[in-house]
Symmetry: C2
Subunit: 411 residues, 2 copies
């Protein structure tokens, strides 16, 4: 991989060769960032390469990815999800340049297929026979999806409370699923112990540095889909912090190779009961575990494993943090769907709920180019969706009964 | 629309101008087929047009579609779903050229976004203020999705038994949802009466002839994705018959304009308790209502409203009919997912179950180019998916408890 130079620790700044290390920093156990030779990439990669490329998937960005053997990629089509200009919603909110990135259109229904794909290629490049991850649900159901057709043994640790649709995906795709009593945080800890004990390759976010490299492809797509323009603000759902730091990495990569002329502000959108990163950002910058519950299961994380990288991303981007209530999240599901035709799961619509709060608190200018990142398909959590709507009307097949409904003004 | 010449009745063969008629044949009440001026299209449309097109959606085929004003199209991205070569599955089945078309990747999670899109454009071209449809679930949830961001009033009739995920989609997208006691067939009849009484534009399959025109885009994509080659056999899920007749129309269109050099055999895949079309095909060609139940709700239709067109498609293509049991369908969900990474709802995997039966009964040659059409995302029916799998394992966060699981050979 001529494009990659090595690792740099996010916490202590130590640098390492790729061969030196498996997961976290040898010196301080901090998370690592993959570093690139931007001069080398700049020489070989022009915008015209993309105009000529017919590969509309994350792999169109292979020159910016830490992978060697693309023949090992998962068989399903990942990425190049739609970026919609949300004109109806923008009109209602008084915003002229509002966009929504619908990452629920990925194969397993969430953005997690991006990081999963990179981790799977790395596992196969290393000749691993088994891959494992702990997950609130989406990272796991993605991994199970991606590995199914490849025949890579997959062991999943999820909290027993994960939505049934995500558990169903895991089981249907044939992963070995182990539900862990209590929380995601417990599942995470157990999966790390299992990786140490059994040698399974860990795809855990906030531990395996390659996941961030998959997530950053979402930023590449946003800029390319805007005609290589960078948005002014991006609203990102934040749980363990790996997504927002990955998104930031993507924008920085493009800036460093001269594809965009400025960087965006990243808005960290958390659920107010589970917002360890936002609390740290707003106070002394020290991440402390929080105790709470939220309907947004995908960002329900007490102790964020990539918190430091996330804080760095928010700060370096000049962004800010917004925490939203479960009530705001539940309302946001139909509101977003009815304005944009995009149906999101609770964590997926949290950035939209955060945008509404940002507008109410005058943090948005009407001509800014704003992207809401919608990270997960609403079909993944039907129970939560049903909390957001009223029951349907009911009739017998008799037109007279329908006439009563119509004449009562209900239709 | 210079490409369109008018309507032709599937039943009595009468021809009409587009302005003469709204829905069904004036003479015999049969369903209509849109007819095209293939010579005109041939003159203007070359394969090179597609090589140069950057519109990877159903609208890339606008020269073959009966729409005038593309500015009215739904905002979400429809079509150009992946066609995967299913090598792992093909190896296991002894088939060298097996493909799966994953139409669960459409915006609302099913193929129904294709016909819905055409119907929505026609409704808006006509200046309609309300659109309605009866549906087993997918056509409705698609219509609700597509109209949401357009602000077109949408009234939906579904059987009360529709899977909760589909009901949730309808409500979240803000359609007016009326559940009709008893069956889809009752919902269909009531919606037709409502169209007559209130003048709402009807998107009903097997009534509105434009739905077939959306469904045919799936055939265009299959051929283009195969490098403008036509498959030998296509396994199609069949409920009311509108999909298989639409698929046939698509292949015939391409054949008529010289884009493909032969036509495929279409295999009609129904649930054995609800297989009125297959029974007619295997006997005297007369469609009679059946009474039964099936887990495959999207193809659970007692009295198929486009049955004649479907029979014509099976016969003209030299195809055949396979009905599969609910047990085969349930088994097919994880079997397909584990071999191809594609998770389908029951009706979506019915064609795969039918392929397995076709292999067992020696109806398949190992070098044929075979496409399985997977029409709906598995996330749309989690209850059925859960019937197909075993419960997950469970542990406390204690590695010793995990060790017991591992040493028992369960992992």
């Amino acid at each position: 991989m001529e494009n990659v130079t090595g690792y740099k620790c996010i916490q202590c700044g130590s640098e390492f060769n790729l061969d030196d290390i498996e997961y976290v920093c040898k010196k301080c156990s901090g998370n690592l960032q993959i570093t690139y030779d931007y001069q080398f990439i700049k020489k070989n990669l022009k915008k015209s390469n993309f105009a000529e490329s017919s590969d509309y998937s994350i792999w169109r960005y292979k020159d910016l990815l830490p992978v060697e053997d693309l023949s090992l990629k998962p068989v399903v089509h990942i990425g190049w999800t739609p970026l919609y200009k949300a004109d109806k919603l923008g009109d209602h909110l008084g915003l002229k340049n509002l966009y929504i990135k619908d990452d629920g259109r990925n194969p397993s229904g969430s953005l997690k297929d991006r990081p999963g794909a990179i981790a799977v290629v790395k596992a196969l490049e290393r000749g691993e026979e088994a891959i494992t991850c702990a997950s609130t649900g989406n990272a796991a159901s993605s991994l199970a999806c991606l590995t199914a057709a490849l025949g890579l043994k997959t062991i999943i640790f999820v909290p027993a409370s994960a939505p049934v649709a995500k558990i169903a995906q895991l089981l249907v795709f044939g992963a070995l699923v182990i539900t862990v009593k209590d929380s995601y945080d417990d599942a995470f800890d157990l999966s790390i112990k299992a990786t140490e004990k059994y040698g399974w390759y860990s795809r855990n976010s906030g531990f395996n540095s390659y996941t961030r490299e998959g997530k950053k492809t979402c930023s590449y797509e946003i800029c390319e889909q805007l005609g290589w323009e960078c948005p002014d603000k991006v609203f990102v759902p934040v749980g363990d912090g790996n997504l927002i730091s990955g998104m930031w990495k993507g924008f920085v990569d493009l800036y460093e190779i001269g594809f965009i002329d400025h960087l965006p502000q990243l808005i960290s959108c958390q659920a107010e009961n589970m917002d360890a990163i936002n609390r740290a950002f707003k106070s002394d910058g020290v991440i402390r575990p929080v105790k709470g519950e939220t309907i947004a299961d995908s960002i329900s994380i007490s102790c964020p494993h990539d918190g430091d990288a996330a804080l760095k991303a928010i700060k370096e981007s000049g962004g800010f943090a917004i925490s939203v209530s479960d009530e705001e999240i539940v309302h946001a599901i139909p509101e977003l769907a009815r304005e944009t035709s995009v149906f999101g799961e609770p964590s997926g619509v949290a950035p939209f709920a955060a945008l509404l709060r940002a507008i109410r608190t005058n943090k948005i200018k009407d001509d800014e180019k704003i992207v809401i990142l919608m990270s997960g398909n609403g079909l993944k959590d039907i129970d939560s969706a049903m909390k957001s709507v009223k029951d349907p009307l009911t009739t017998s097949p008799d037109i007279k009964e329908l006439e009563k409904i119509v004449s009562n003004g209900l239709v």
